[in-house]
């Protein structure tokens, strides 16, 4: 017989032997089962405490076929947005007595697949996933579904018909951002947008034009530039916007990093921030509060709250609060936060 390395941890078997009672009695005593005599209960609990008994969860997980563990797959744990999101996820999981298993894909589809595989093998009860930038094949998620492991997609969601998802719509926030600038009297508002293909870019562009329509102003597509989000790309975009005949007095930038690069460029051109030119951005980072020239306002995406929402959705599904084919979807509204510094 294989001799398993005794972990030194006491088991109910051992307690039973020492007290000359059966394991079932010990198990029941520890669970405060009503049918167990007070005297026995006390003796069992006392000895358990004395031996530092701790129940072996791996045995219970195995036995019950449930792990009270949820798998989280995110592209980058060190990105501020996702870091906040994990924080919200962990907090919510924790207060519901669930544990969090963590993986990061680094936007690598192969690694994403491996992590999902590993989570499946771990028999996590469910997953929360933000997919990689280049992920186009979703078979690993379909396998999760086959294994009846529910998945809630989050922020970066795939283009699939039937899925649970939590995401944030940037259109509303963008409308607010442009509104804000219009109210400040700006009439020629530029936008440094992201790559045309991204959903997020489309939402921003939609918000921009909707805001102008709302105010019965003409929408000039020349004012929106699709950039690649690098510093060079931002400089190019700035150069273009500042060269336009109509003088651009405000710019909505794709994110805080772009905003900071744009500010740098403007400073080099001897423009005074918030006077010659005003910036509004999207809050992907806690940075903006600390920079010398933060954007005048930021569209908040509430990553912490999105994490909470995704976790609550998953827990509801695990608790059987929805039929299996009843796909949940929460779209949070982004919101403009005006900085007063």
């Amino acid at each position: 017989m294989r001799k398993v390395v005794s972990s030194g941890q006491p088991t109910i078997k051992e307690i039973a032997k020492r007290l000359n009672i059966s394991v079932s009695t010990v198990s029941r005593a520890l669970h405060d089962h009503h049918s167990i005599g007070l005297r026995t209960k006390a003796r069992v609990k006392e000895l358990a405490a004395e031996l530092n008994y701790e129940r072996n969860q791996t045995a219970i997980y195995f036995q019950q076929g449930k792990t009270f563990t949820i798998g989280i797959l995110l592209p980058e744990l060190s990105e501020a947005f996702f870091a906040s999101a994990i924080s919200g996820i962990e907090d919510t999981a924790y207060s519901n007595n669930y544990t969090v298993l963590l993986g990061q894909s680094h936007d690598d589809e192969a690694r994403e697949k491996q992590i999902i595989q590993s989570m499946k093998q771990h028999r996590v009860d469910g997953c929360i996933v933000s997919i990689g930038k280049n992920t186009s094949n979703y078979e690993h998620f379909e396998m999760l579904q086959q294994a009846r492991i529910p998945v809630v997609f989050f922020d970066r969601i795939p283009d699939l018909p039937d899925m649970h998802a939590v995401s944030c719509n940037l259109e509303s926030g963008t409308v607010q951002a442009v509104d804000f600038l219009l109210k400040q009297g700006h009439r020629v508002i530029g936008m440094i947008n992201g790559p045309e293909t991204m959903v997020a870019s489309k939402e921003r562009a939609a918000g921009y034009s909707r805001a102008l329509h709302k105010h019965r102003l003409k929408y000039d597509p020349k004012l929106i530039v699709n950039a690649d989000l690098t510093n060079a790309g931002t400089e190019e975009a700035m150069q273009y916007l500042l060269s336009l005949k109509r003088k651009v007095t405000a710019i909505v930038t794709f994110n805080d990093y772009v905003a900071m690069d744009a500010v740098q460029y403007a400073l080099k051109q001897k423009l005074e921030i918030n006077k010659d030119i005003t910036f509004v951005s999207y809050a992907n980072t806690p940075v903006s509060g600390y920079t010398a020239f933060p954007p005048a306002a930021s569209v908040e995406q509430f990553p912490y709250e999105q994490g909470q929402a995704a976790t609550n959705m998953l827990l509801a599904i695990l608790n059987g609060e929805h039929a299996l084919n009843d796909y949940q979807r929460t779209i949070m509204e982004s919101q403009l936060v005006v900085h007063n510094r």
Copy 2:
């Protein structure tokens, strides 16, 4: 007999039955055991693939008494420093086929205890822990030790004699920082330090005075201010430093946030950054690369690498590469990074 809810997942038992062979043969075939006939191996693997068989890790964990899981307890998942650290931890764990169980204490000792308890019950193979600010009682960690679950402390390490730890010494980086400023010709260098009680403050102060001694310059304690790291505290400290008779031309700030606040203050006083006054800081954030007036140089603490180091240390311990009472300690050296922007 209790009818366990069938998870729908096929087991080796099922494969065995279908092929009319024994479970052990199936198990061995799936493990490429040498004693299994090629023909059988092929048949087993084929059917396994067909049924989408996936081994039940919970059963294996239970059976082997090992989970290939490590528990990570950090104060705040959303702090940039820790977010980088988790990223390094996860990457290292992943490439060694370990999984990461995550918890955040929010600097709350009670929550810290609960999480450690939960990890113990999960039977994690080991833990990596950065303790909360106010944690003074370490009995939960002693219990881990009793359960023979090794712990590697990281960054915020407790004041205990016998423990494994990875941390970063700020003294060396501070020496380099002051050296750097001296070489630039600065002779009156201020320091906005943190609270006197913090180890990190002491290391900074020690580095400061050591650098001056090295250059046979007089150490003037008036030039070091202990501040509380708030914006108000920083302004006060700046006011004090700028009011000194000897004209301060450079300042070492406790961290990037303090640096940014200090820069703001300097700008208000119409000082020109990097000309009238030069700042050097400690890189707690990826921010500095993006601010309008980043510090001229930063003392790097390499959180990602610290995370890697802690994980490698833990894995070495788990692999029995050290005797149980052979406490490991890695002290990484901080290092000055000069920005050239």
